[in-house]
């Protein structure tokens, strides 16, 4: 069964090959390079499906790790370059290649006529490669390389329309903001691997780090410091508050890019990394609480911001921030599988929504929902696929978003049941935020599709190449949820898919909450949401001492909470219909709430505060200080060194060169001349004198030999 898994590297290599080929010969081809990208991604996609199938039906599987020693780091430590294929990798491979393939096909029509069409496809390939490199990494250094490449591609694609100053600014903002977190990530990786020194030759190996952490071989300091720093990287990359500010601005890029990068794949890198290192995360209650609280803040306040946006892409951007908050919060409350499940389904329906938004924008030539309206008649396919995506995002029952989001809330509930405060926080705030989600999506849908058209261009349905991906993603937005539902078998399901030898069904957290210690052993109940996890009986896999198990098992129906969710959904829908059902109101009620609206419109002042307290001081003070230190201090040192060198050189010239060396050479020449003047007299030309000397010499020699005898 491993036969296909061995070829996981091909999935990674093909997009890179596509990027290289498109750059080399793309412009000469009839499709301007797009056909190379589509073909490469198509093969990658099929292979990824095969890998996902292999890992899913045989789950839980033994991870397949293949690595070459890339370079010795000195001291006996080795930097590997390799692949690690397990369920988590397969999930990500499937998600990334699916969305990327759909985006490639979609872009072929969407980007038609754009400048730099070929460059765009090359960048898409490079981006896909970077993300896949991160996903299959078997060691953290390789993951960091993929992570940085992803950031680079994101920068290039956000600034794709670089003729506009605001687009350049957005690209710079995204790059600098995520780079801030990347520093944390790199330091965190170093801290973690420093803890591995002495335990292994390959301190960056992910499996070994996980095993060491689970076996308690890593010190608490290493785990807490390392994971908090890595989490800083996740905060910036995955758009968590307060470093989410780049994500809405990143909508400056072309819409397919927004779908690929800023919804479905790149921003999930942080969550993926947390899940990849979940055995380490799970060692520290403090780290998990931090993660949960950041996630809860983001999921709630990020969602509220979407209420007042007029730009459709910004609405979706803030909803992405909010949904990423759910995923992070799920990690923080022990919902390892729930987080990745939500990531998986969210990838599909958010890509669907963004591509649908692209289709609408294509039709009306405006990003603003106030310029749309009545689009349902003109664009029937975009309409129903967008509805499917919106329902999934809002968590309407029996869509993928419903199952995954409720899984997250169930994880919170189980965590609360085990006696952790953050669990109830995630559950109740998450429930409230789902009301907000439903409301802003309903607002967008009513304003776009209902009422009369406010567009200046007569809208028209998009072509097959754009509608096709929408339909496939719409199907996936429903179907992907059925990997883990109350109807799922014990195995294989999404959770067993993600299980690893470390995170098997017997794995538990090393700490217990207040509730667990007080309750009698084995009665930690996860009273799930509607699709609450674990059986209604005491938590099946809970340890005898009340420890919480990491995998929750198949969820079950909880009708009370299902009713609660439905009431929230329909009340939000009704409220939105009251306000927006008859077209755009004169005064948008979300803007009529006084200080609250002002706070939302000002994005809680994050951007202003960031500008005033970070950008301006850096520009006016730090830059000036840096200029001073550069121009005066460093240049002074450099110039001083230069002057000193010059003086030393002149002194050397005068003494060593002119006197010692030249003196020696001249002296040699003069002495040769002087001696030759004296010695030349010997050659008198008088042959008889020579003969006399010859005879005298002979006599002397004879006498000398005679004396010697």
């Amino acid at each position: 069964m491993d036969a296909l898994l061995e070829y996981a590297w091909v999935v990674v290599a093909l997009p890179l090959l596509s990027a290289v080929l498109i750059t080399a010969v793309g412009k000469q081809l009839p499709g301007k390079g797009s056909e190379i990208g589509i073909a490469a991604l198509g093969i990658s996609w099929l292979l990824a499906i095969g890998i996902a199938w292999e890992t899913f039906v045989n789950s839980p599987i033994e991870p397949l790790e293949r690595a070459v020693d890339w370079s010795p780091l000195g001291g006996g430590f080795v930097f590997e370059l390799g692949i690690l294929v397990d369920g988590l990798t397969a999930v990500m491979l499937l998600l990334v290649t699916t969305v990327s393939f759909m985006v490639h096909i979609y872009s072929r029509e969407y980007m038609k006529g754009e400048p730099r069409y070929t460059y765009f496809f090359a960048m898409l390939g490079l981006f896909t490669f970077s993300m896949l490199l991160l996903v299959v990494a078997n060691n953290l250094l390789q993951a960091v390389i993929g992570w940085e490449l992803v950031g680079l591609c994101s920068y290039l694609l956000i600034g794709f329309y670089w003729e506009g100053k605001s687009n350049q600014d957005a690209a710079n903002k995204a790059f600098l903001t995520t780079k801030f977190g990347d520093v944390g990530l790199i330091v965190g990786v170093i801290v973690l691997s420093a803890g591995m020194f002495g335990l292994t030759d390959t301190p960056f190996n992910i499996i070994e780090i996980n095993e060491a952490a689970f076996a308690g071989q890593l010190s608490t300091t290493t785990i807490v410091l390392g994971m908090l720093l890595i989490f800083l990287g996740c905060i910036s990359k995955s758009g968590q508050m307060p470093l989410h500010v780049w994500l809405p601005d990143a909508m400056a890029g072309p819409t397919p890019v927004s779908a690929l990068i800023h919804a479905a794949t790149m921003v999930t890198a942080g969550i993926f990394l947390l899940a990849r290192l979940f055995p380490v995360v799970a060692q520290s209650q403090a780290v998990m609480a931090t993660i949960a609280i950041v996630g809860v803040i983001t999921l709630f306040f990020g969602g509220l911001l979407a209420l007042v946006q007029d730009d459709l892409k910004k609405i979706l951007a803030y909803s992405t921030i909010s949904q990423l908050g759910y995923m992070v919060a799920a990690i923080g409350v022990g919902g390892y599988a729930a987080s990745i499940f939500h990531l998986f389904t969210h990838g599909f329906f958010k890509a669907l929504l963004f591509l649908g938004a692209g289709s609408l924008i294509h039709a009306v030539h405006s990003n603003n929902i106030s310029d749309m309206g009545g689009m349902a008649r003109a664009m029937p396919h975009t309409f129903w696929t967008f509805i499917v995506g919106s329902l999934a995002l809002a968590g309407f029952p029996l869509t993928a978003g419903f199952f995954s989001k409720e899984e997250v809330l169930a994880a919170g509930d189980i965590w609360a049941g085990a006696g952790f405060f953050t669990g109830s926080l995630v559950f109740w705030v998450g429930l409230a935020a789902s009301f907000v989600t439903t409301f802003y999506m309903a607002r967008a849908v009513f304003l776009i599709f209902a009422g009369e058209s406010r567009s200046h261009h007569p809208p028209h349905e998009s072509g097959k190449l754009m509608v096709g991906p929408l339909m496939l993603l719409a199907v996936l937005s429903i179907a992907s949820g059925y990997l883990l539902t109350p109807m799922s078998p014990e195995a294989p399901n999404f959770e067993t898919w993600l299980a690893t030898p470390i995170l098997d069904e017997e794995a538990t957290f090393p700490f217990t909450g207040d509730g667990a210690t007080e309750a009698s052993p084995g009665t930690v109940t996860g009273d799930g949401v509607l699709a609450g996890a674990a059986s209604p009986a005491p938590l099946a896999a809970a340890g005898e001492d009340g420890a919480v198990s990491i995998l929750h098992g198949v969820p079950y129906w909880n009708l009370t909470k299902l009713a609660m969710v439905l009431v929230l959904f329909f009340s939000a829908l009704f409220l939105a219909w009251r306000f927006y059902g008859k077209g755009l109101p004169e005064r948008d009620p979300t803007l009529q709430m006084g200080g609250f609206s002002r706070a939302l419109v000002n994005k809680y002042g994050f951007d202003d505060a960031g500008y005033r307290y970070i950008v301006v001081p850096v520009r006016d003070k730090l830059s000036a200080a840096a200029t001073y230190s550069s121009n005066v201090l460093i240049d002074g040192v450099v110039a001083g060194v230069g002057r000193a060198t010059k003086h030393a050189a002149v002194a050397t010239y005068r003494v060593v060169d002119q006197q010692v060396i030249d003196g020696g050479i001249h002296g040699a020449a003069f002495s040769a001349a002087w001696w030759s003047e004296k010695l030349k007299r010997i050659q008198s030309g008088d042959v008889q004198k020579y003969a006399g000397v010859l005879v005298a010499g002979t006599i002397l020699l004879v006498l000398a030999f005679a004396a010697a005898r």
Binding site: S684, G685, D686, V687, Q688, A691
Partner: protein, 103 residues
């Protein structure tokens, strides 16, 4: 017979030759002095052949003397030709004048 007589004669001839080569100015006389030295050597060769290997049928010394006489004749031929040319070029056979090979 005692070798003293021929050896003394040879020594005298050789010394006279050396003196002539070093001291005479006339190139012809210098050549004659060279001949004196060669013939002194010839006498020595014959003397020592008879002194050291009396009755030896291989008369090596005498043979060498004969060769030297031959070579000396050739040498004198060349030498006189040089002297003759020298006289034709500068109307003098004084060796002190022939000092062009100097500094």
């Amino acid at each position: 017979m005692s070798p003293i007589g021929p050896l003394v004669l040879a020594a005298f001839l050789f010394s006279a030759g050396v003196y002539g080569v070093i001291a005479r100015r006339n190139a012809v006389l210098v050549l004659i002095s060279v001949e004196l030295m060669l013939n002194a050597v010839n006498i020595n060769l014959v003397t020592f052949q008879n002194l050291l290997f009396p009755g030896d049928p291989a008369v090596t010394g005498q043979m060498f003397a004969l060769f030297i006489i031959g070579v000396a004749a050739a040498e004198v031929g060349v030498g006189l030709a040089i002297v003759f040319n020298m006289f034709r070029n500068r109307a003098s056979v004084d060796v002190d004048d022939a000092d062009l090979m100097r500094w």
